[in-house]
């Protein structure tokens, strides 16, 4: 029985590691991180890979040791005596502090660097502003239009029935007149975007796995993130903060385009306003 437990633990540990190592689940399903299309994602991916290596080794070693000890010590012979682990508790505590301590310290320090590269750097002055509003259960985006200014928001004017998702007063507010409101987000490739986030109603989140950007919307707080996409393509923006019954379907598409395609797209959208 004990040997079977040991073998099972080893088999489970190995089977658990295989999809991580091969990035594949049976049936050609990919299990790795999605491709990275951002300029800042490299640090995150490195950090992830380092952590995976350390966590994976700790995982395998501990499980193997557990299995081995179960295998080895479960059928004592009558004369067997209790033996102490070499080094005893002190050795183990020191080992834990040295090995794990340095490990987590290193992870923490390098992780802080990755985190800082995203959150502690201000957006470039020429970053393109885009506003995103999250609401039950859709994202809407606003581009400032030719004047480069966003008109003020009037929550009491919000009317989904009349497709006034942001609550713009296009009759009275000069700045709002040329604002372009869209249901999908298009951005030019290799251009820094300064995304201004606010929530219409509840907590939501803005997550684009490929962009390595993840930020909650906080009702009552205006937050912003900035990023640069480096690869043309169509990606999905998903909500990760439980916001109600339509949470699973709260998403929008992110289209990364060439500057020229983007300009055309913006013109098309302006015509639809």
């Amino acid at each position: 029985m004990a040997k079977l437990v040991a073998v099972t633990i080893v088999v489970i540990a190995i089977l658990s590691a295989i999809p991580i190592i091969t990035h594949k689940w049976p049936g050609d399903i990919s299990v790795g991180l999605p491709q990275d299309i951002s300029t800042h994602g490299e640090l995150i991916d490195e950090q992830y890979a380092d952590t995976m290596l350390e966590a994976g080794i700790s995982f395998l070693i501990s499980q193997f040791l557990l299995a081995y000890f179960i295998w080895r010590f479960s059928q004592p012979k009558p004369g067997d005596k209790i033996r102490s682990f070499p080094g005893g508790a002190t050795g183990l505590v020191v080992a834990a502090f040295l090995l794990v301590g340095t490990e987590v310290l290193a992870l923490g320090v390098f992780g802080a660097k990755a985190w800082g590269s995203i959150y502690f750097t201000p957006p470039a002055a020429n970053a393109m502003p885009v506003q995103v509003q999250a609401g039950q259960f859709a994202f809407y985006f606003r581009y400032p239009g030719p004047d480069g200014r966003f008109g003020p928001l009037h929550p009491n004017l919000i009317s989904e029935a009349n497709a006034n998702f942001f609550g713009l007063d296009t009759t009275n507010d000069q700045d709002s007149k040329d604002d372009i409101v869209t249901a999908e987000m298009a951005i030019p490739v290799n251009r820094e975007i300064h995304l201004l986030m606010h929530s219409k109603d509840l907590g939501h989140a803005f997550f684009v796995p490929e962009l390595r950007i993840h930020q909650d919307f906080v009702p009552g707080l205006d937050l912003s993130v900035h990023f640069t996409a480096t690869k043309i393509g169509k990606y999905e923006i998903v909500c990760t903060q439980l916001c109600g019954l339509g949470h699973f379907n709260m998403k929008a598409y992110l289209e990364v385009m060439s500057q020229q395609d983007f300009d055309n797209w913006l013109k098309q959208q302006a015509a639809l306003q």
Binding site: Q136, F137, A161, N162, K251, Y253
Partner: protein, 244 residues
């Protein structure tokens, strides 16, 4: 076992009531009910209806690949006929709950069809879904007047059957697809909704003088006085101004 009996009893009761209603209806008709007909027009150029971008749900986008969706606030048909206007008799004091048909409110191609559903008080209606994407139907009555509800309909879910107790204009919304918007217009007594040419007919109106009220979203009404004779047909035409 007991449940079978119950349902049998309910079924026979329903059949009896239906037969009774049919016979009664014919008898009353024979006594000479009239009707009110007419036409509703929009005066002025039809306003631009904003397009709807459904890109959040690719299934919806696919359904509208050839016919771009747009708002249905003001839908103008032939000869400036205004669609989706509800006509009913203001201050109806005839028999309560006259309408017995079961209208259907369909969620089709990520839009509500019809956009405006007129209902008698306590008239049962069905909400169905023809879409292969989950919808949520959320009427928002004034809680002091009617009891609201908020329910989802996954694809091929059975119809939701409901009714409203009191007259009220109730906006309807799908929370999953924010652009989906429609109306339940709950009135007392007979009613009609204009077709795409703006024509309507209110049937089964007993002889007498009435004020006909026309409602158009978001909250515009007009009235006209008519007199219905036995077996006759009165006419009331309305014209809404294209303002916004």
């Amino acid at each position: 076992m007991k449940r079978d009996y119950n349902s049998a009893a309910v079924l026979s009761a329903v059949v009896l009531i239906c037969c009774g209603a049919l016979i009664l209806g014919q008898r009353v008709n024979a006594a000479g009910e009239g009707k009110i007909t007419g036409n509703v027009k929009l005066d002025g150029p039809a306003p631009h209806m904003k397009g709807i971008d459904m890109s959040k749900d690719p299934w919806c986008v696919k359904q509208h690949a050839n016919s771009p969706a747009h708002l249905e606030t003001t839908v103008v048909g032939q000869n400036d006929g205004l669609e989706n206007v509800v006509l009913y008799i203001d201050g109806w004091n005839g028999p309560a709950d006259v309408e017995k048909s079961v209208p259907v409110y369909d969620q089709k191609n990520c839009m509500y069809t019809p956009h405006v559903l007129a209902l008698d008080t306590n008239q049962t209606f069905k909400v169905i879904t023809s879409d292969q994407t989950a919808h949520n139907i959320h009427p928002l009555p004034n809680p002091m007047i009617n009891v609201g509800w908020n329910q989802s309909q996954p694809p091929s879910a059975p119809p939701i059957e409901k009714s409203w107790k009191n007259p009220e204009v109730i906006p309807v919304q799908c929370n999953i697809h924010p652009w989906m918007h429609g109306w339940f217009v709950v009135v007392k007594g007979p009613y009609a909704t204009t077709d795409d040419s703006g024509n309507y007919t209110i049937e089964n109106v007993p002889p007498g003088s009435y004020t006909v009220k026309a409602w158009h979203e978001p909250d515009e009404t007009q009235t006209a006085k008519v007199t219905v004779t036995a077996g006759g047909s009165a006419t009331a035409n309305f014209t809404f101004k294209a303002g916004k």
